[in-house]
């Protein structure tokens, strides 16, 4: 039996005054997945996360977490009780020490994991007596992550968790997410504009662009279905429009015609050959290219 998705968003809209931050966004996040929420800055990622946690109300559409409508009365409290959230700014009480903020946070959560607390204090090398405001960006992120993980949450929501971290600290954060995802059915939902880290640990992704879901699915499926077909001609590449479905982009450059196909190369090969190229090459498309094609194609 297929589990209901942990996060289920349909046609979400959010308008701030005259600005449409989110304009019809869809998301299904299955339980136990590491879900990469990918988009440029300003694409609507943070707004969507705020709606999910009940921190702001949607202007239209539906957002459900654990089956609860995020804007229903009382739902926000329930959702946040079961969710570990690391905000983009890693908001923490700056005046406390590391040990104080941990002792302050723990009593709010009956399922507080003392074992994890001890483990991450050690492995993240968090200085217990240092004031939070004196911590480096990397250490601050690790502290925020510890506070999110130790509450025994079944869903982790992280907004740009590795932004501004050096590569070693970023890898520590990613590894921690890998360790927790799927264990005790924990689901990880993280936003990022770092394509490399998304393709490293995510099994499912959504690419959001200008407030809409431009592309979503299992990362392996996307990698297997996107293909670059490159045609070389002995003359100027012809103007070509393909009838086959799944042509994401056609680009002409001198004698070269490059086609990005979203449904595999097969459907367009016959049409491609009919153009009379001297050579046909098919290759994989990286997530970075998929991202750029998806985000650029509306322009």
């Amino acid at each position: 039996m297929a589990d209901a998705p942990v996060i289920d968003v349909a046609g979400l809209q959010k308008r701030y005054g005259s600005i449409d931050a989110v304009r019809g966004l869809d998301l299904q996040v299955p339980r136990g997945s590491i879900f990469g929420f990918l988009g440029r800055n300003g694409a609507g990622k943070t707004t969507t996360i705020k709606v999910l946690l009940g921190m702001t109300r949607p202007s239209g559409g539906a957002a459900r977490v654990f089956g609860l409508a995020a804007d229903a009365p009382g739902a926000s409290v329930e959702i946040r009780r079961r969710t570990g959230f690391v905000s983009e700014d890693k908001e923490l009480y700056d005046f406390m020490t590391v040990a104080e903020i941990v002792r302050f946070t723990a009593p709010f959560f009956p399922r507080w994991r003392r074992d994890l607390e001890e483990r991450y204090m050690r492995s993240f090398e968090l200085p217990p007596d240092a004031k939070v405001k004196t911590l480096s960006r990397g250490t601050r992120t690790k502290l925020a992550l510890l506070l999110a993980l130790c509450r025994g949450a079944e869903l982790l929501v992280l907004d740009e968790p590795t932004a501004g971290l050096d590569p070693a600290a970023a890898e520590d954060v990613l590894q921690t997410l890998v360790v927790h995802a799927g264990r005790d059915e924990t689901t990880v939902f993280f936003s990022s504009h770092q394509i490399a880290e998304v393709e490293q640990i995510a099994d499912r992704i959504a690419i959001v662009d200008r407030g809409r879901t431009a592309l979503a699915g299992a990362l392996d499926d996307l990698r297997e279905s996107f293909r670059r077909v490159q045609l070389v001609f002995d003359r100027e590449a012809p103007q070509a429009s393909f009838r086959a479905a799944g042509v994401a982009r056609v680009r002409r450059q001198g004698r070269v015609l490059t086609v990005i196909a979203s449904g595999g190369a097969e459907p367009i090969l016959d049409e491609a050959r009919a153009l009379g190229p001297v050579s046909v090459d098919v290759g994989p498309v990286t997530l970075k290219e998929i991202f750029l094609e998806t985000v650029a194609s509306e322009e």
């Binding site: 136990g32 997945s33 590491i34 890898e171 990613l174 590894q175 890998v178 360790v179 995802a181 799927g182 264990r183 490399a196 393709e199 490293q200 640990i201 995510a202 099994d203 990362l219 392996d220 990698r223 297997e224 996107f226 190369a265 097969e266 090969l269 016959d270 050959r273 046909v280 090459d281 098919v282 290759g283 994989p284 498309v285 990286t286 997530l287 970075k288 290219e289």
Partner: protein
């Protein structure tokens, strides 16, 4: 580290991992009865998704390369290492060597030869054949 998939290649990570396990078996780096790392430890070491490792192991079991013993872990099978993978691949090597030699004799560069092989494997010529 025996395995090192590259997430940025555009090839699914589970396929890369499968290839690397098969390669390790073919070269004898992994032998029949050898135990592979557990799904979680390997995912954590490579910092990749545990579902990706699980998928690679399932497919490798399907291909007969490894055997998943419930609760005990993943082990290289006797026939996976011997019969299919190692011997067949070793036997095929002279065929490839001969083809490469002939192509070089025709003046093709290694890079051109590699591209021809890749195009062939990508199924370009196969589709052309079916059409005709």
């Amino acid at each position: 580290m025996l395995f090192r998939p590259n997430p940025s290649l555009g090839v699914p990570i589970y396929l890369q991992l499968m290839e690397q396990v098969k390669h390790a078996v073919e070269t004898g780096a992994l032998r029949p009865g050898d135990q592979l790392p557990g799904i979680r430890p390997l995912a954590e070491e490579l910092v990749i998704n545990p579902n990706t490792v699980a998928k690679a192991y399932r497919e490798l079991e399907h291909d007969g390369v490894i055997e998943l013993r419930h609760g005990a872990g993943a082990f290289v099978t006797a026939h996976g290492a011997r019969g299919k993978a190692a011997d067949t691949v070793r036997a095929a090597q002279p065929v490839v060597a001969a083809a490469v030699e002939r192509l070089r004799a025709r003046g093709l560069t290694d890079e051109e030869i590699r591209r021809l092989f890749e195009a062939e494997l990508a199924g370009l010529t196969r589709t052309g054949g079916q059409r005709g």
